[in-house]
């Protein structure tokens, strides 16, 4: 699986890991990763440790996740982004919407 999920013990935090390219091909898997969960998490962590590339449709998918997790009130963190991936996020100024580290 290119998209892996992990729910914390207390069921509050959902971690989504994307391996390889994060592009339109991951669309369905990525949606399933948060929509097909027994409960709605309080916080979502998107782990890009093993993500090699990210395109604009991936940015769109992050926006969908943010919308699902509560829009402006959403607690969505993007972690372990490589410098290339970070650059793509920076050009679009996504750090204004997501907590990126």
């Amino acid at each position: 699986m290119a998209v892996e999920t992990d729910f914390s013990q207390d069921g509050k935090k959902l971690t989504i890991r994307i391996k390889g390219r994060f592009d339109f091909g991951r669309h369905q898997e990525f949606r399933d990763a948060y929509e097909r969960q027994p409960s709605r998490p309080d916080a979502v962590v998107v782990d890009l440790q093993d993500t090699t590339y990210l395109d604009s449709s991936a940015l769109g998918m992050l926006l969908m996740l943010r919308d699902y997790a509560g829009g402006d009130e959403a607690d969505v963190r993007v972690v372990h982004a490589s410098s290339d991936v970070r650059k793509i996020l920076a050009i679009s100024n996504f750090d204004k919407l997501f907590d990126i580290s």
């Binding site: 604009s56 449709s57 998918m61 926006l63 969908m64 402006d72 050009i91 100024n93």
Partner: protein, 563 residues
């Protein structure tokens, strides 16, 4: 095999006994049978009856089974007509020959009815599979053809809209891959009534039709509002709000909008998510990258949207280069990206601006080989004073109903000064006056100048002396934004009087502000001397209007247009 679903089976066998035996077995399984006594007959019957399956004896007089198989396969074309060889040969070489001649299977004599039935069913499955694949392939080809045709038509319609602008102006050079629109790229250019040039380069998320649908409404907003003289923040807000309203959550538009003002010798830039644009010297050296400072259009609601624009001086001959990410993200065989450094070295190596694009395209081809279909490039040069740009749009005449004797007072107060700009509304109103119709551009420039003077130097108390160099220039606009954000009181009042005068009429404009006023004599004499980055405004107002004076200690500007 259900009844009525039988195949037509060709049986070619030179032995009468075997032929009749086979025909009987096959018929009993519910198929129709046609028979041939040698290869030649078999080929002829195949052409005539088009059976779906062939049982072929390998060794026959006149034409043997191998040759017949080759001819039948050739006649069958793409459709799979399974051929089962009937053979008493059993050395390996002979069986291999059967398959190489185009046979799909073979069956040894003596015949077993059960095995033959099973083989016919198996071959029929293959035949149907091949049939389905062919049908689907043809369907995909039809859809693809249809799609290309739709794209062609959509592109033709869209080109009409896009080219209603001024991308063809002599100071703009641009290239776009032919179907860039369907990769989400959008390039637009138009003049404001005062002769400023606006250029928009956008890139929607995604590909194909979804990426292209947002382009129409965006172009409409851009052209409509630019022609009416709305400010950049107003246009950006409208574009953002419109896209936010109509696009699904995961779609947005990276965008760069710029305003090139020949009168003020500046370029104003808003970049949300596009790659760096470049402010270039006349020789092509990079002066400043024009970086993305904002989220793309269509993501934030009106409450959070940031319309702050960067302002840079741009002298005659200096240029601005815009590009889409297709340029930077062109990849080579190892998936390395072309990137900013390679772009910069092409820029550095360029000697003749006219050749920049072809040098860049060449560098991309050398690097990646595979040209992408989402490359947009736009190079805009600040025209010199002796090089007037095409005349701004004229509004249609409203005829003899035009009002000739009226007045209007308009006051913008307090926090409304932060975002609201009344100039476009007032200019539209004044366009109703017959004698002013052809002077819309001048009116717009003069009113804009007076309004921003009243706001910036009057209400906000900014000193235009700040703008003496490039750094000061940036400081000035930063300070302007800061003071504007804190503004809670003050006013700018515009009084318009239109009255009949002599054979024609005249318009009197008073612009008052709540500021400190200024030493009119000193400022006017200083302005006359300056050629720098400030002080162009007053000169412009005097040149474009019939008369211009300042009263009330500099707190009131009074301008007349007569016709």
């Amino acid at each position: 095999m259900p009844a009525g679903q039988g195949l037509t089976v060709l049986v070619a066998e030179d032995s009468d006994v075997d032929r009749m035996l086979l025909a009987r077995i096959v018929k009993r399984q519910g198929h129709q049978v046609v028979t041939a006594q040698n290869g030649q007959e078999a080929v002829a019957l195949f052409s005539e009856r088009r059976p779906q399956l062939v049982l072929l004896d390998a060794l026959m007089p006149v034409m043997d089974g191998f040759e017949a198989a080759r001819q039948i396969k050739a006649l069958a074309g793409e459709a799979l007509v399974p051929i089962i060889f009937l053979t008493s040969l059993n050395e390996e070489q002979a069986l291999v020959r059967c398959l190489e001649a185009g046979g799909d299977d073979f069956m040894a004599k003596p015949y077993s009815a059960v095995i033959l039935a099973a083989k016919i069913r198996a071959m029929d499955r293959l035949r149907r599979l091949q049939d389905t694949v062919l049908q689907q392939r043809d369907q995909i080809a039809r859809h693809h053809h249809h799609l290309l045709n739709e794209q062609r038509v959509a592109k033709a319609v869209f080109d009409k809209v896009a080219h209603s602008g001024c991308l063809g102006a002599p100071n703009i050079r641009s290239v776009q891959s032919p179907y860039a629109l369907f990769n989400g790229d959008l390039m637009l250019a138009a003049f404001t009534p005062s002769g400023d040039m606006r250029v928009f380069l956008g890139d929607f998320t995604g590909h194909g039709l979804p990426a292209a649908v947002g382009a129409m409404p965006l172009a409409e907003v851009f052209y409509g509002m630019t022609a009416k003289g709305y400010t950049m923040p107003q246009v950006l807000r409208e574009m953002n709000a419109k896209l936010k309203r109509i696009l699904p959550v995961d779609m947005f538009c990276c965008a760069l909008l710029l305003n090139l003002s020949q009168q003020r010798a500046v370029v104003e830039v808003w970049n949300g998510g596009m790659p760096d644009g470049y402010r270039l010297s006349a020789e092509g050296a990079v002066l400043t990258p024009l970086q993305s400072r904002h989220l793309p259009l269509g993501i934030l609601g009106p409450g959070q949207f940031d319309d702050a624009v960067e302002v840079w001086p741009l002298a005659a001959g200096e240029r601005v280069l815009l590009l889409s990410d297709g340029v930077l993200e062109t990849a080579d065989a190892q998936e390395r990206l072309f990137g900013e450094q390679r772009l910069r070295s092409v820029l550095a190596g360029n000697r003749e601006p006219a050749l920049l694009f072809s040098e860049l395209m060449q560098a991309l081809a050398l690097f990646g080989g595979q040209p992408r279909d989402d490359i947009s490039l736009c190079d805009i040069r600040m025209p010199g004073a002796q090089e007037p740009l095409p005349a701004p749009v004229n509004y249609p005449d409203s005829g003899p109903t035009s009002p000739a004797d009226w007045s209007l007072g308009f006051e913008v107060r307090g926090q409304s000064l932060r975002q609201f700009n009344p100039v476009p509304y007032l200019v539209q109103l004044l366009q109703q006056v017959h004698g002013l119709r052809t002077r819309g551009g001048n009116l717009y420039s003069v009113l804009s100048e007076l309004y921003s003077n009243a706001l910036e130097h009057g209400v906000l108390g900014l000193d235009s002396q700040l703008k003496r160099d490039v750094q000061g220039f940036a400081d000035y606009y930063q300070e302007r934004a800061r003071r504007l954000a804190l503004l809670s009181e003050g006013f700018v009042r515009i009084d318009l009087v239109v009255e009949p005068h002599a054979q024609g009429g005249r318009l009197k404009i008073d612009v008052r502000d709540s500021g400190e006023g200024f030493d009119v004599q000193q400022v006017l004499s200083r302005a006359a001397l300056q050629q720098g980055l400030s002080g162009r405004g007053l000169e412009l107002v005097r040149r474009l209007s019939s008369s211009a004076t300042w009263a009330e200690g500099g707190r009131c500007a009074r301008v007349e247009f007569a016709w």
